[in-house]
């Protein structure tokens, strides 16, 4: 066994941002939400994550503004601590150790220094109680709460099930109790209290909202029923003045009820996934809805969606995890009918590609088209997707779509749609990766017993737009069902698994070269070795990992292990095998040519790992340790059974990250991007003149994000900056926008200047001329600092580093 001292399995973002209701700060500039083990601070205007409040070691279960100081925020976690943060600076102020996992927590104006937490009962872990915690008043960073007093027992751990009424005068708690009067589903799902009146609103599973009044008398309570939702009401929220009640559910429609005039209501439909939480900013100007597809929508005055913060959608992952070779983004199916492109480095969704191109109806029980398979070719210029719909067991609707990457629009454009490419479900799909030839080949295998090869063919008719994909070859093998297929690295061999038999074909002649078989057990995963190991073909069965030598056509070696997932690193010979053993998954990284694994890690996570991918690094790591060398060129990501995206990091890498985050956190305190700051004053004036022209607004936010040079310019303290004249030209150049961006009117004026830099800027421009959601994503990475010469950049960086160590020292003291 190889030792793996400094390699750690870590969560790598993509965590849920819709787990608990987000919090909007008093000035409506920030939105705070629990995300995995951290609290993320987003800007409500730019959708950018400004910083993360890290420190909890368990899942964060709640975020609340401190009632007595609206610049501070409490967060609770399953690790049993409450932490108080200064969210503008991202500083941990205080940690309060409770000792029990906190499932949700509440605070109110009336109870100073008291926090109400929901923790499990000491006697029975499945029952919960509401406990009042008196926060100790000491200046220490770390305090332990001793004064605990139980308030209510037998409460629901769901935070929506408890609400504090009228500034904490009473507590409303709902249980799962079936409250049956008219029959049907009357189970309570959520509760909200009116901020001024004695009125409690409850949501029910039958879609009704009930407003309870007069409940302070023992029996004389009364209620009225509001009914619009057809399924469960999942969230309720009163506006701060109590004039409106907001409700949402699976219909993904935000309903606004007028308090006391409930027949009048407003709707904001088509918000995306089912609404899970609704919050309102303290001044009532912003509404914010969390959705089941890991999305937060910010709505201005109940009419306009002003920002969408989209996390990684990990509902029902049907496709493999893939890397987009161009954008280096993680690709998997996300929103229904979409493929999502997710930047792993920046933990941000780049964009969604609409595959199905049909309206999705948010209602349970409907059979709709879903993306089930996708594959990229090696260069990233072709994308193949499969969508299917099960109407009934017999009727399967299948579409194979091929998408070409369009350099102009910087996105994938539908090239060919093949309806019913196979008679049954497609089991696997892969592109040929030819190094020399121009033709691209796609092979799909299906449960109907055939595998088909598709080729890009020249148009038969001259009036056709361009080449489209046609079926080139169909074959079967003894009526067996092909399970997976794989091309060798040079594209000269195709291996197709027919249950227990591995067949090897020549794609150029479509000749069956040889069959390899190693009974017993059907081969479930297949992988060709790369680079120096390209003579090897690896396969997995339920109990064995097999390696064939293709030169001798014989079995080279075999090990007995239950490999659930075998992935090959595209940049090296390395392969990673996830083996399931007694409830947890082990990882082995090996080279097919070497008998000993390079790295092994027992129990990386509990449960099975069925999805994993090697992601190439942007810059190579220079690790000399033997055990972590395999992580130098690419990083391994995998999805656990609990749908957590995990990765492996080395210690060195972590240290580097920590250092950089410290630097950023101290200087990056403002909410807006630097660009916003520059133009902010100007815009305010504009808005005074022409009250918030929405089109202008959209245009402004759509402008390309800041480049590194701007960041340097703005974040470096003035006294260490070079002279203004020196910086000016760089800055102006960085502001330039290419001609290809049709939306920008500025571009025309600056066309001439642009042409000089065109070659250098080409890459950046391509980014910026992509579709809008992607635009936001294309924000400054280290690489696009075209205006700076290397020497200048180095100088600037050195200057900044110097300054920050000094500043950090000051802060620490």
């Amino acid at each position: 066994m190889v030792e793996h001292g400094d390699i750690r399995v870590v969560h790598c973002g993509g965590s849920k941002i819709n787990f608990r209701d987000p919090v909007i700060t008093h000035d409506s500039r920030f939105l705070l939400c629990a995300s995995g083990e951290a609290v993320k601070v987003f800007s409500t205007s730019t959708e950018e994550c400004i910083h993360e409040l890290r420190g909890h070691t368990g899942l964060v279960t709640g975020v609340l503004l401190r009632p007595s100081n609206h610049l501070q925020v409490y967060s609770s976690s399953l690790d049993g601590t409450l932490r108080l943060w200064d969210f503008t600076d991202g500083i941990l102020i205080k940690t309060c150790v409770i000792g029990y996992p906190i499932y949700s927590f509440y605070a109110s104006d009336k109870h100073e220094n008291v926090i109400f937490i929901v923790a499990s009962m000491p006697s029975d872990k499945r029952r919960f109680q509401l406990v009042a915690v008196h926060l100790p008043q000491s200046g220490d960073q770390m305090v332990e709460a001793q004064e605990l007093s139980a308030v209510l027992s037998g409460v629901n751990p769901n935070p929506a099930a408890i609400a504090f009424g009228r500034g904490g005068e009473f507590i409303a708690s709902v249980n799962d109790l079936q409250w049956s009067l008219e029959g049907g589903w009357n189970t309570f799902t959520c509760v909200a209290c009116h901020p001024k009146d004695d009125c409690i609103a409850t949501g029910h599973e039958d879609g009704k909202i009930r407003l309870w009044r007069n409940f302070n008398h023992k029996k004389e309570y009364t209620y009225s029923t509001l009914h619009w939702h057809h399924s469960t009401v999942s969230s309720l929220c009163f506006t701060p003045e109590g004039t409106n009640l907001l409700s949402g559910g699976v219909e993904s429609v935000l309903v606004q009820w007028r308090y006391n005039q409930e027949s009048e209501r407003d709707f904001l439909p088509r918000l995306g996934g089912a609404i899970t939480h609704i919050t309102v900013s303290p001044d009532g100007s912003l509404f914010c809805t969390s959705h089941s597809d890991n999305k937060i929508t910010i709505i201005q005055s109940c009419v306009k969606v002003s920002a969408v913060i989209q996390g990684l959608v990990k509902g029902d992952i049907r496709t493999d995890l893939m890397m987009d070779p161009r954008s280096k983004a993680l690709v998997l199916n996300g929103k229904p009918g979409h493929l999502q492109f997710y930047s792993l480095q920046r933990d941000k969704l780049l964009y969604n590609l609409d595959i199905v191109q049909q309206e999705y109806i948010h209602e349970s029980g409907l059979q709709q088209f879903e993306v089930v398979k996708a594959a990229f070719d090696a260069s990233g210029s072709w994308l193949a997707t499969v969508e299917e719909r099960h109407q009934k067991a017999a009727e399967l609707e299948l579409n194979l779509k091929l998408w070409a990457f369009d350099e102009q629009t910087q996105s994938f454009v539908l090239n060919t749609t093949i309806s019913a490419p196979h008679d049954a479900q497609i089991t696997a799909m892969c592109f040929c990766q030819p190094t020399d030839s121009q033709t691209t080949l796609l092979v799909s295998t299906s449960k109907d017993g055939h595998f088909k090869a598709w080729q890009l063919a020249a148009p038969a008719h001259t009036e056709d737009e361009g080449p489209s994909w046609l079926c080139d070859f169909v074959s079967a093998y003894h009526g067996l069902v092909p399970e997976c297929c794989s091309f060798s690295a040079d594209g000269s061999l195709l291996a197709v698994v027919f249950q227990e038999v591995v067949t090897v074909w020549s794609p150029s002649t479509w000749e069956l070269l040889t069959t390899l078989s190693q009974p017993p057990g059907a081969v479930s995963d297949l992988c060709f070795g790369r680079l120096s190991c390209s003579k090897y073909l690896l396969g997995t069965t339920a109990s064995n990992l097999l390696c064939w030598n293709l030169l001798t056509c014989s079995l080279e070696w075999t090990t007995s292990m239950d490999v659930r997932r075998l992935v090959a690193d595209p940049l090296s010979e390395n392969m990673a095998a996830f083996c399931y053993q007694s409830g947890s998954t082990d990882l082995f990284v090996f080279k097919p040519s070497e008998p000993r694994p390079l790295f092994s890690h027992k129990a990386v996570c509990s449960g099975k790992v069925t999805q994993a991918v090697f992601a190439p690094r942007e810059e190579m790591l220079e690790s000399c340790e033997e055990s972590s060398q395999w992580l130098n060129r690419s990083q391994l990501y995998f999805l656990t059974q609990q749908m957590d995206l995990m990765t492996f990091t080395t210690k060195a890498e972590e240290d580097r990250l920590l250092a950089s985050s410290k630097q950023v956190s101290s200087s990056h305190w403002f909410s807006m991007t630097p660009f916003y700051l520059l133009l902010g004053k100007h815009r305010q004036q504009q808005q005074e003149h022409q009250d918030s022209d929405s089109s202008l607004w959209a245009e402004r936010t759509a402008l390309p994000q800041t480049s590194a040079s701007m960041k340097e310019l703005l974040q470096t303290p003035a006294h260490v900056l070079p002279s203004t004249s020196y910086l000016c030209s760089m800055f102006v150049q960085s502001l330039l926008i290419s001609v290809s961006d049709a939306r920008s009117e500025k571009a025309h004026a600056e066309e001439e200047m642009e042409s000089e830099k065109e070659e250098e800027d080409s890459e950046e421009e391509m980014e910026s001329s992509r579709s809008k959601p992607e635009l936001a994503a294309a924000a400054a990475t280290e690489s696009d600092t075209p205006a700076l010469t290397k020497a200048q950049a180095r100088e600037l960086r050195r200057v900044r580093k110097l300054d920050h160590s000094w500043l950090a020292g000051l802060l620490d003291s």
Partner: protein, 679 residues
Amino acid sequence: MGEFKVHRVRFFDYMPSAIRTMAFNSQTERLAVARADGAVEIFNFNDNFFQEKVIPGQDGRATEALCWVGHRLFSAGLNGEITEYDLENLRPQYTVDAYGGPIWTISSNSQGTQLAVGCEDGTVKIFAILEERIQFQRNLNRHKGRIISLCWHPSSAQIAAGMTDMIKIFDAETGHATRRLLVDRAMGASKNKEVVVWSVGYLSDHTIISGDSAGKVQIWNGLTGTLVRTYLVTKWDVLSLVINASQDESSVIAGTSEGTVIQFQFISSTVDQHDKEWVRTRTFRNHSHDVSALAHTDTAVVSGGMDTQLVVRPLLDKVEKNTQESALRKIAFPHRSLVGCAKKAGLLLFQFPDRLELWKLGESEGHVCLMYPYFVCRFLQGEDHICCSALSACGGWLAYSTVSSVRLYRIQYNNTISINKVSKLPKELRSVHQLCFSSDSSKLFASSCQSSVIVVAVSQQECRYLHTLKHKTGEWKARMHLLCASDDGKWLATANTDCEIHIYNLHKMKLHCMVPVYNSCPTTIAIHPVTNNLISVHADQQIFEFSLVQKEYTQWSRRLQAQGLLSLWLERDTPITHITFNPKNPDHIILHDTYMFCIIDQSLPFPELNAVLWNQMTLKSLPVSQRIGQSHAFKICKSFQHLMCVSLLEDLSLVVVERPLLDIMSQLPAPVRQKKFAT
């Protein structure tokens, strides 16, 4: 339990009439309900909502409004007359013409001294209520347009009157209009469309609440004449509005033409604040059609309308939860039997308000139908509606009665049917409440208005008055609503609405004994043909067996009372309306209500109080030993629903007369609006 050949009769197309208006008397806990055919029904809310009185209607008498004054009941209708009812003899006592055209509304002041009626010609007329009659007092100032609704202020100093487009407040002393509240016309609708204030309420704090045809419920300050709040409740009309005047006036309910009832409550917004406001709270959706009549009892909302059902919806904040009291009740059928059955001849007599229908039951052998049931004849009645009818067991005699007269027919079957009206009836038979033939069809018993039973001998030749059975000389007013003669012709049992049951010996023609008075009204009585025990079932679902010979409750009855009836039985909400006996097995008593029929086996032990009743299919699947252990006295069959009658013929075939509620619903006119999903 036994197996029966069943005649499943579904050709009784009884159609209840729409509920027009209702009035609740909170002192006596009686609800008066007026139907569109002019009939008035009195329900006793103290006694399980039992329908104790039915005043038959009359063609052309359209009751528009009802009003209780103490124990007296007044009604007014579009024929322009005010009627007071004789609640003992179930007939109008007198009518007074108001001379103001059709009357839309009637209302009495809180002292019960004055009656105000609103007329078509725009006048509000005040009548003084005297001992035995009412007397016109004066007119309030006349205005253009009809008076649709009226409400007295509790102090009797003011009257609020709802008209088209406005509400006026009159000073009751001077007769002048003091305030005029203009009601907005419907939004969106054409400006010319008048808005009708269908209903108005006047609270003691001078708040006026109105419901109008634009679908608004409006709250006004009557002192200043200003509008306080408007609730747009429906897109159609708010037809009725009632205040719980007997309590603290903190709740108002409004019925709309889309079938909803909406409650408004006067509550404070927070605990420590004392100023209260009206808040729309609950919505009840129990009707498919117009809710034109509403009553607000202390604990429940009572509503009725076009869909003919009376719905009693308890307010859960006022009653104990999950008890019989908190259950929703729907009263769809009358609490008396409308079906007569000639057991020997296989004839069925259906009683409609305006006609009788006689049907012959079919015959079949196995699955082969030998004879289809066929329609024999129809007896059409004129202006007055039928209040009771009877068919003799042999099928040879038929009698029916209206408020004013009795008719007797002789029916003979010799291949063809001949029906002869018996022309000469004794003059004692004039106005009766209940008719009953003796089992040998030789005598006709009629409960008369003088709280007596008239015995008339009927035979081929003549119809002769025999005797009048009276149990007591002196003043006695309660009306007999049930009559039952024993099979051997010796006994006659009568039950009256004072819950008394009397037994007469027909041989001696005098009172035999009186059954101890139980505090709930008997819904049906029957005398056992073999043992001559009297079985009585009461409105609170209790069953008693009284031995006529020993003049005491039988052992079985005592045991039943000692153990108590099982809760499933007590929780039923429709009364038992008919009892028959199985001639083959004297232990079996067959009873039915609307939703089930039950065979009580007197030889078996009683079930546990909260026993689960197994159905026959489950019982059959059990092993024999367990099945015997499970067997108990109550065998309930629910395979027939909405029963009007269950009777056992002489050939041991069971007649089940069903009237499915769906059939009644399908005959109603189309509702104003049906809630459709996603609209």
